[in-house]
Structures are given as C-alpha cells and as structure tokens.
C-alpha cells in the first residue's frame, strides 16, 4: 500500500498525544512514561507519531514541500512502532504504516540521508548492512565444520545476520547459537558465504527496492535448498523474514522462528537441558522487531463503508502489538538456574526502543546512544546486574553506550546466557 492509501487513517488522528507515552494504565509513576524516543528527544510535536501523520496528510493535500527540517523529522525516527501500540489501545487506525510509507516516499523522491545512502551502497556491493565489512560472511564459522544448508539436507537453516557475521565482537553470538543447537542435537546448517542480508534494515531506512532485491535473493536460495524452517538470531532478520516478506507475498510457507522461540521450544520438548547455574540478576529488553513488530502480517484489502464510522468491508483487523514474541525469551531466562529476572517499567508491547533501529544508528549515532542511555538507566533502576536482549543491534548499541558513558551494567544476548547454562 502507498502513503495515499493511509489518508483516512492519518485524518483520524485526534492529536491526543497518547502515542508519546506508554499506555496510560501502565504508567507507574513520574518516570519512564515516554514511549517515543523521537518526541522525547526533539520535543516539537512534529517528531511524534501524531505530528508525523498530520504532516504527511498535509503533504498529500498540498503537495510535498521538502525542507531540511522535514528530512530531519523523517529520519530521526526509529520506526520502533511503540506509537502505534499506544494509539491503537483506543483508536482504530494505522500509525506506523503511514510513517514508514512516508519514509519510503522520501527515498523514492531522492530525498535521502547521506549516511544511509552510504550504508545502502555497501549493501549493494557486499550484501551486508555492516559498512566496510572485512573478510567473508562465513569466516566466523571457519573450523566449526557446520553443514552447508545450500548443499546438504538440514531441518533448520540458521540465518546468522549481517552484524553477527561480520562484527568481530558479535561473532560470539553465532558461536553460542551453534553450541546450543549442537547440544540439542538439531540437524541445522548455515548458508555461509552464500547468506546475504535479509534486507529488513534497508526497508526501515526507506530503501524498498533494495529490500525487495535482498528478499528475492534470500527466498530463491531458500526455495532451491528446500528449507522449511529458518531460525534467526537477530530481531531485524526475524521481522524481515516473518513479517515483511509476508507483507510482500514472498514468504511462502517458510516457518520463521527467532532463536529465543526455538530454544524455548527445545527446552519445552525436553531436547535442551539448562543445568549449569548462572548466578545473575537480569532484566530483559524486548527488541522492537521481535516484540510488537514481530506480530504476524495480516493480509487485508477492503473499502471504507460509507457513513459515520471509520470501518471497512470486510472488517479490518489491526496489528496492535498484541501478538508479538514476548513470553518465549522470558520463559528461556526463567529456565536458566540462578538467573533472576526483574522487569523494567516499559516492557513487551510498550518497551522503549534500544535506539538502533530505523537507520538512526547510522544517520544519527548520537540520538541512538541517547535512546540507549535512557534504557540503560531504566535497566539499572531495577537493580539488575545485566540487561539481556535478543538482537545483536541492541546489544551493540547498549555496549557502546555503556562504554561511552560508564555503567556497571553488563549486556548479554539471550544465547550467551543459555550457552553458559548448558
């Protein structure tokens, strides 16, 4: 759907500001009430979801008038979707979709962000979102003797993802995942050098064509190899394969699982035993694209019913963040002996973003770190020694922010703790 298709949704915005905050019933005090990093940092209403919708609606009506400020607004948004959850507690209207479409329109019109252009040039050249990546994608697996899923028959393809493959500090996540899957006796493989970027982050940045390119490459490989189940270690990858590929009718019947869901299943099926004690007080950070934005896509086409209500024929079911992946990672953490989980104020569907999404990590690293700082402080307020996440981009942003600002908080991906427990 194009921006124009969301005109009605945008016009429904009543400017109530609810999209700036966590759902009102969940507000526990004066602190940690904000949910939208963009308005929290930049303060002008234009940076909130409501403001964005009002602006986009006005542009549809009066023509697109690009200014530097407009582009600053457009690109300083993590596309984290928290706004939509809060709005959709009460309202029946799309929020994140038009915001995302507006970004796609900017790119289509050539109004891009130079930092993001660079990243996309890297993607086009090297098939990765890690600019200036050195070596080959599958180097991290050298010596591990893993099955090549493009050649050998496997039950599960482990899609490693760009950051975990190329970033030397993140490769530990791939190795931990391998150990866990081997311990559970899973017949899995990787695509090694044949793996390519899922395209999800390119889509967030607004580059739809590059996303579609990547999606087609991936699905061609997957179909050719006869893969039925794909497990991703990265929340961006999860959302891309599971939700975005489906949105563009590219997913077919591929089963997509996040590693936390898969580990949860292995534990519940008795295939994986966590019996080593890991004495640690932790809190869990829901990655946006595993949590609220990991909710399955709902295919729908319909027309507004003429009359007084904003209703459709056939009725439209909204993705309100209800069906994201919230419990599996928590269940995994709870099954690790010695781990004590204390929740933050902003969790699950109304979790505060780590800051790294929507291209912000690349276009405005200062804003990405500012957003992470807020989360680190919130995590610290629970008394936890460590913040556990389920996405390498979150881990990287948290770790770098801690390095920059100092904090005793440790950062782990969930697979690192599971690895310690087996």
């Amino acid at each position: 759907m194009a921006l124009e298709d969301y005109r009605g949704d945008m016009e429904m915005c009543c400017r109530c500001s609810t999209c700036k905050f966590i759902p009102m019933q969940k507000v526990k005090g004066a602190q940690y009430v904000n949910v939208c990093p963009s308005i929290a940092k930049y303060n002008f209403h234009a940076y909130s979801a409501g403001g964005r919708l009002n602006i986009a609606a006005a542009m549809l009506k009066d023509g697109f008038k690009y200014t530097d400020k407009l582009l600053d607004i457009v690109y300083n948004c993590q596309l984290c979707g928290a706004c939509g959850v809060s709005c959709n507690y009460a309202m029946d209207m799309e929020v994140l979709q038009p915001i995302s479409e507006f970004r796609l329109r900017c790119v289509e019109d050539g109004k891009t962000n130079p930092a993001l252009d660079k990243v996309i040039a890297g993607l086009q050249k090297q098939g990765t979102m890690v600019p200036g990546a050195k070596g080959k994608r599958g180097d991290w697996a050298t010596g591990l003797k893993l099955k090549d899923a493009t050649k050998e028959k496997v039950d599960v393809l482990y899609h490693v993802g760009c950051l975990t493959s190329y970033d030397k500090n993140m490769q530990k996540l791939a190795k931990a995942t391998v150990k866990i899957l081997q311990k559970a006796g899973v017949n899995f493989g990787i695509a090694g050098n044949a793996e390519t970027c899922c395209g999800g982050r390119a889509y967030q940045m607004g580059y739809k064509e590059d996303f579609l390119n990547q999606a087609k490459k991936n699905m061609d490989m997957i179909k050719k190899a006869g893969i039925k189940t794909l497990v991703t270690g990265c929340a961006d990858g999860y959302q891309a394969f599971k939700v975005l590929y489906d949105k563009y009718n590219l997913k077919g019947d591929l089963e997509v699982l996040h590693i936390s869901e898969y580990i949860d299943k292995l534990i519940k099926d008795g295939k994986l035993k966590l019996n080593k004690k890991v004495n640690l007080n932790v809190t869990y950070h829901d990655p946006c694209r595993l949590g609220r934005l990991g909710e399955p896509w709902i295919h729908w086409e319909g027309k507004k019913v003429p009359g007084d209500r904003f209703v459709f024929d056939p009725p439209k079911e909204y993705r309100r963040g209800t069906k994201g992946v919230y419990e599996p990672p928590r269940d995994v953490l709870k099954s690790i002996p010695g781990v004590k989980l204390t929740e933050m104020t902003r969790i699950k569907e109304y979790a505060w973003c780590c800051g790294a999404g929507g291209g912000v990590n690349e276009s405005n690293p200062g804003f990405a770190r500012w957003t992470a700082r807020e989360r680190i402080e919130e995590a610290g307020s629970t008394g936890a020694e460590a913040i556990v996440t389920a996405c390498p981009w979150c881990e990287k942003n948290f770790s770098e922010t801690i390095k920059e600002n100092g904090s005793n908080l440790k950062v782990y991906d969930i697979v690192e703790l599971v690895e310690k427990a087996i």
Partner: protein, 489 residues
C-alpha cells in the same frame, strides 16, 4: 506575522536554537496553523523572557500543555510547554501537589496512588496535563474545575510573575485565596471570552483520599488489558433505570449518602465503547447491551476504607438502587469487564474510545450546573439528534446524553455529543446546526446560558459579564498580546 531574523534571534537567545522553530514543515503538526514560531521554554524565567519579548514586538502568543485542544489564530507565537514537566512537590500532609504544565495526569496519579491519594482528572484522559482545571469521572469525590486549583504561579500577559493565594505571601502552595492575592475568578476562568491570558508556569492542585490499591494489577497485552483481581473493598457496577426521574433520584440519594467514590452517568453507548477494542465489536456490544438496559443509567465505583465500610456502602447502594427500580447490567458484573471499567474509569484511559474512535470527530455541548435542569434540556437535545441518526450523519448512540454529580451531587455536569466523520461536509454542517440550535434553546428556554453561545446575547442576561471581562483583559494586556478565543480546557 512572520518573524524577521533579528526578532527570531532574540527569542532563540532565550531558549537555544534547538528549542525554537519556524520551519513550515512542522506547522501541519501544530493544529495546521502557520505560527510565527513554536518555542519550547524550559522554565519560568524563559517563559517570562519570551512574554516580555512578545510585548516588546507586539507579537501575540498562546501557550499549550499537551495541546489536545485549543484554537489558535495564525501568525502568533506558540509556547509549547513540553519541556516543563516536573512534579515539584507532593505534600501529603496538606494534600496538594505542585506541578509544571507538562506533567500528565497519569504520572501524577500514579505517584499519588502510591501514597493513598488521588486528584480530579479531566474526563479527556490521563494523557492530558495534570495542571489545568477540568472535570471528570471522579468528580463525585474529587470535585471539579477551579475548586481544585490552589496557589498558581502566573506570568501575566505583560510578563510579570504573579504568585496567587498563599504563595503570594509565603512559599507555601496550600491555598488559592490567600493570605496573598486571590485572583481565582481571573486565573481559572474557562468561560469564553474569559480565557485567562498569560501563562501558568506552576500550579498546586488539591488532593483527595484514595482507599484503592497503590497500583492496579493490570495484566494482558494491549488492547486486552484486564485486572488479575478486583482489589479488595472495591466494586464497579452499571445500573439502568426505568426513567430519567428515577435515575436522577437515585443519583441524588447516592450523593447524599456519600457512598460512591465515582458516579459517572455513562450512557450505554459509552459503556460499549469503553469495554470493546474495535469499532465493530463496539457496535455489536452496543446493540446487545442496549436491549438489556431499561432506560438511562450510571456507572459507579464503590471503594471501602475498611471491609465494614465497604459492606455498609454496598448495602446502602443496593437499597437506593432497588427503591428506584434500578437494574444492574449483567455484563459489568463479570469481573473481567468490571476490572477493565474500574481501572479505565479511575486511570481515565479510554475516553478516546468513546469520542474519536468511531468517526474521528465529535462535537459536544458540556454544561456544569444544576443537574435536574440540565437533564431536562438534554432530553430535548437527545431527541433532536434522532433525525441526524436517521440520515446516517452521526453514530447511533440512541440519542443519549450523559453526566454526573460533582461533590456528592452539590453540583452536576451534563453533556451530550454527536460523533461523526469530519470528512463528510453534510454531517459536519448538520452537527454544527444541531449544536447551535440546542444552545439557543437552552438560553431562550432558560435552562442555562451556554458558554458556546453568542456572547452579545448571553452577556446582557448575565450582568454584562463579557464587557467586564473585556475591561479586565485590556487592563492586564495593554499591548494586546493575548489573542481572543480559545478555552482554558
């Protein structure tokens, strides 16, 4: 009026470049108004400096808190008070809280509930400012409107700082009327054209006793929130009555006996909106519940201070309801629905479902005053909605109105609205016509003088208050920097 570079620079020097903007890109976000600039002051001193600059350059300005409402002429300076968001003090002993403009009600309420306190929250919702006056669901025990404003820190239209009430003679916020200047009638006026000019930078609001939980046990994932259990000594019910008269008598008796923490005269369409998570579900629920109710009704929340107190209040309620042939709505007796409503109607978090979800717009006629009189008027206003419903211009809510008792029924609020699709010009015109006609009828038939009616007709009937107000604002605002129009709530 566009700002020239030099003037812009003067404002920028006050707040810093990141807190002022006149780029056309941001304007559609702000009420689709071409403001001369939007400025984000961070404290009282900055507000004062900006107001002084506005006087120097004869620029009009208007402030907003969260900015849900308000009508603003183009070309003025908009002061978005978003950065002023601190709870300055919660004084448990003297039962007041001092807040800045951008503390939202849910923040203050959450802090208060931990301390066994609560405050009057505007029916609009906890997403709005806690600082401005208003009235809402809990008025039965928390009163409403200007009764809840204590001392206020006010930047006058000329840029002076005035500290009203006890703050005028000490650093205490406990009273709005003294010792110190009492400016209550000017400061908290909400009656057009009586909108208070200038800017409140801090205000003390009155607090009330709360015997409910320190936090509700909310479970589930949005939008399916519910309570894992009904908190002890609490109960929520909806009662319908065979006639308006019986409902009103029950409402009076409940007020007299002071047994309900909340009495909210929801019509059944509002109940349906509150407890459902989509438009389709709401319509189906409304049709179902509408068959079950016997007539108009209200929603109550009972909170006991002790088990004995709770039992006593329940018994009295039962007696009053049965004496007036009231009937409890079965749906609300289901603990899941009871919990949802209890939480939503104290943490005021579903008004948007009642108002905007259907069609994206609603026009309303709200009246504070004597309930029996305003109810009589509202019956007629409800009847007048029927042709609009038949033509499909407005959402079918059975033509209903709603309202509630304030301060255990000493005062009352009655309101009636039409929900419609603002994209349909015929519907919009029909609703505006209805509004005009019902306001006129209220005035000519002597029910009340609507603040939305024409001032030159209403003013003379009310001691020419509008002319007096004009004189006051001229004296306060010699440079004419406060645009007319708008409303404080």
């Amino acid at each position: 009026m566009a700002l020239n570079k030099e003037v812009y620079k003067e404002f920028e020097d006050v707040v810093g470049e990141e807190n002022i903007c006149n780029d056309p890109a941001i304007m559609p976000a702000y009420f689709s108004t071409e403001f001369a600039a939007v400025i984000l002051p961070g404290n009282t001193a900055e507000v004062q400096a900006i107001v002084k600059l506005c006087n120097k350059h004869k620029m009009q300005f208007r402030p907003i808190c969260t900015g849900w409402t308000g009508m603003f002429p183009p070309g003025i300076i908009l002061l978005d008070l978003r950065r002023m968001n601190r709870i300055i003090e919660i004084n448990e002993k003297n039962m007041y809280a001092v807040v800045e403009p951008y503390v939202i009600s849910s923040q203050l309420q959450a802090e208060l509930m931990k301390r066994g306190l609560n405050f009057c929250i505007k029916g609009a919702g906890t997403n709005c400012t806690a600082m401005l006056r208003g009235h809402g669901h809990m008025d039965q025990t928390t009163s409403g409107d200007d009764r809840n404003h204590l001392a206020i820190e006010w930047i006058t239209p000329e840029g002076d700082i005035v500290r009203s009430g006890s703050l005028g003679s000490s650093d205490e916020w406990f009273c709005g009327d003294g010792p110190g200047p009492s400016l209550r009638s000017i400061l908290t006026s909400a009656v057009p054209p009586g909108v208070t000019p200038g800017v409140f930078t801090k205000a003390a609001v009155k607090l009330y006793h709360w015997s409910g939980p320190s936090a509700y046990p909310v479970e589930g994932i949005s939008p399916h929130y519910s309570l894992s259990e009904i908190p002890p000594n609490m109960m929520a019910r909806y009662f319908s009555f065979p006639s308006v008269e019986k409902m009103w008598q029950a409402e009076l008796k409940i007020g007299e006996s002071e047994i309900c923490f909340e009495l909210m005269g929801f019509n059944i369409s509002m109940v349906a909106a509150n407890i459902t998570t989509s438009n389709e579900e709401e319509e189906e629920t409304f049709n179902r519940l509408n068959k079950e109710v016997q007539g108009p009704g209200f929603f109550v929340i009972v909170v006991g201070d002790t088990p004995a107190d709770f039992e006593y209040k329940q018994r009295v309620l039962e007696k009053i309801v049965s004496e007036n042939d009231g009937k409890s709505l079965k749906a609300v007796e289901d603990p899941r629905i009871e919990g949802i409503l209890m939480c939503q109607c104290t943490r005021i978090s579903a008004s948007i479902r009642e108002t905007f979800r259907n069609g994206g717009a609603f026009n309303s006629i709200p009246i504070m005053g004597q309930r029996d009189l305003t109810i009589k008027w509202a019956i007629g206003a409800g009847k007048a909605k029927e042709p609009l419903i038949e033509k499909g211009y407005i959402v079918d809510d059975g033509g209903a109105f709603f309202g509630w008792g304030v301060e255990q029924g000493h005062l009352g609020k009655t309101e009636i609205f039409c929900k419609f699709d603002p994209g349909n010009p015929e519907a919009k015109a029909a609703v505006e016509g209805w509004q005009k006609e019902q306001n006129r009828r209220a005035f000519t038939e002597r029910y009340f003088a609507s603040t939305m009616g024409p001032q030159d007709e209403i003013g003379p009937a009310l001691l020419n208050y509008h002319l007096w107000w004009q004189k006051i604002t001229e004296a306060l605002d010699p440079n004419g920097v406060s645009p007319s129009g708008g409303s404080l709530v």
